[in-house]
Symmetry: none
Subunit: 216 residues, 4 copies
DNA sequence: TATGAATGAGACTTCATTCAT
DNA sequence: TATGAATGAAGTCTCATTCAT
């Protein structure tokens, strides 16, 4: 858990503390490249610079590695949003604008950019993982968004559209980004214009949900 | 086996006269349920009511089955959109409204509802498949949409936003549907409200891109 | 089940019918030689003249092979005893004498001679197998013997000793045979004298349980 | 590792002054519970309260532990019998009665009750262990018994039956006890009646080998 | 064309053993 | 002496693919 555990007396144990993280990073790279089924433990071990048996000192199974990996990354990012929402000032439209920028920046970069594809691709094999992701990421994010929308509507800023739908529609183009970037962009001549995409999304979306012309 | 060396995607469109449509249907069902890696030829054979060996009379490999299957479905629906666009009358907003309804209806039902998950999940193993899908589905649909947007802008109906982005933003919530329905809906207490989602999308999106309040 | 199934039309399927038996025999040889844990499926496959994968067409697991193997042999011999008991004439001592001869002859020869060692050795790993053997072999044999003893006692031929103990004491020296032969005899200079052992057993045992000097 | 090339069985009797008696006790418990193959050094180390590496400071290998363990226990009880025989008074039948009581008491209790199963079960993997056991336990016990029988026959107390067989027949029901108790009793509703078994054995056996009605 | 028995490469996982600390 | 992290060989089991019938 701690990135710098106490290693006062036990110098040689630092390796043990670091191993899971190293393995997880190696696993992440391999899973991202191959998917769960095609990822071989040999690859993970080689990439982590250990032998295959070592993996089993830290994880019970290939599945356990995968789940742990997903779990850790999912956890990390959820604080950010909440903090931002608490601290917001100004219009709700501006808040959404801020949120979209933040989320887009994260979701367009490794490692997060690979997660939607992994989650979606392995959702049949690991239904509980999809459930976990739904609960810990999607659902929470949606709740935050719905709350913002509701308050924006109460404040007379947003038009009366079911907040749940509004939340989904706010997210959809953001979810589109990692899917497009990982699945299709490699086959396209021109790079995906993230900034333009997000900007256009906000332009259209905010104008779409506001009574008044939203501020730029 | 095949006398043609290159396994180009064009090949998939042959064999229209072959009987093993049943095989492809069985394969589709199994691939959808298990994903490519976990699908077993035994299952496909059993579901098709033939022996495992028979499959190899019609397909070179498991991969070939998968590609062929994807290819066929992709082909099927691409005519519809073009026809609709050609025949449209009235405002471009109304056309988009029509298109969204059409696409949503298709993409929310089997078999199409399963395709995005399959394509996305297997895009690493079959990059050429993603490329093919991009080319034959995404790209063409986008082109049609961009054309509509351009003409709407020329007609002074739509605001000047880069048509490519507009197209992506029109599609994103529609792509969201099959992903949500196949990956997350099974874990949610309440069903996904397709009609409400599409309606809200059009409401927001059209208001967002039009100069004037769009017609309901 | 049938040693000669119908192979009127399906000549090439005879192999399939014969396989389980062949595999079981190969497995028996290997299990006897190595014990369960040290037996390798490679060895069994090689001895049966098939590839390793073929085994799994007929058995679910290594355990399944072992259990099936034990089960078949156990079944085979149990008819004999019952038949003999039904048809007996003369004194009960003579019947026991007959039974001992029959059982000794069987238990001293392969394959049966190896079973007690296998059952005993693997009883921790396969408790249910010991239970099965207890129920299907030990218990039934004991019941038959107890019935004989009871009737011999009612007829005034045998002394009143708890029949259950008498049955165990009748069996003990017979169980001693395969254990001694498989575990210790290989390390002894002289061969185990089966005939002398059984003869001495009957001599002592029958004299021990009868009121009168038993007939020779 | 060891400076002595031959791993003769004599070696086992050394190290009497070593502390790792605890290790052997832990090993005994684990071997008894799991058998040799399924016993893990982790378990032994854990039960002994040391680390796995520590085991290798005292033993060369898993096999060495097993052999050492067997050797020690086998040693322990062999004195008893000899002492008893030397000191006997009265009839030989009474001596046998005494011996049977003594042996039964020991062989029916842990740890000895587990040994026959272990020896028998692992006799293929460790043939030299069976040989050792044969030599140090079986053979010596048999020799003592044969001597008693011979003297009983010379004294006109016992009938002229080959002493070797008599010895085996005296032992068989005693060997039956630990086998039955460890292999089958766990699956039976009623407990094994040790006293009754031994009593019936002596009743039948002594009557069977004596000219005269043996004393009760 | 159709079968289905057979193959064999390859994957995950276990665990006795080693060695730096 | 003691540790315990690391190793790597070996074993079971799976399944796409082949081929005799």
């Amino acid at each position: 858990m701690s990135t710098e555990g106490d290693h006062s007396l036990v110098r040689w144990r630092r390796r043990k503390d670091a191993r899971p993280q190293e393995l997880l990073e190696a696993a992440f790279a391999v899973f991202v490249e191959k998917g769960f089924a095609d990822a071989r433990l040999d690859d993970i071990a080689a990439k982590a610079g250990v032998s295959k048996g070592t993996i089993y000192l830290y994880f019970d199974s290939k599945e356990a590695i995968f789940k742990d990996m997903i779990g850790r990354v999912a956890d990390a990012k959820l604080e950010l949003v909440s903090q931002l929402v608490e601290a917001h000032q100004g219009s709700f439209a501006a808040l959404l604008r801020q949120l979209a920028g933040l989320m887009a920046a994260h979701i367009a970069q490794p490692p997060l950019v690979h997660f939607p594809r992994l989650i979606i691709g392995e959702s049949r094999r690991f239904p509980e993982l999809a459930a976990f992701y739904l609960e810990s990421a999607i659902s929470r994010a949606r709740k935050v968004l719905m709350r913002i929308v509701e308050r924006g509507q109460e404040a007379g800023e947003f038009r009366p559209i079911p907040p749940r739908h509004v939340a989904h529609l706010f997210i959809s183009p953001l979810l589109f980004v990692p899917i497009y970037k990982t699945v299709f962009e490699p086959h396209e001549p021109e790079a995906f214009d993230l900034a333009g995409h997000v900007s256009a999304h906000l332009d259209i979306f905010l104008r779409g949900i506001c009574f008044q012309e939203p501020p730029q």
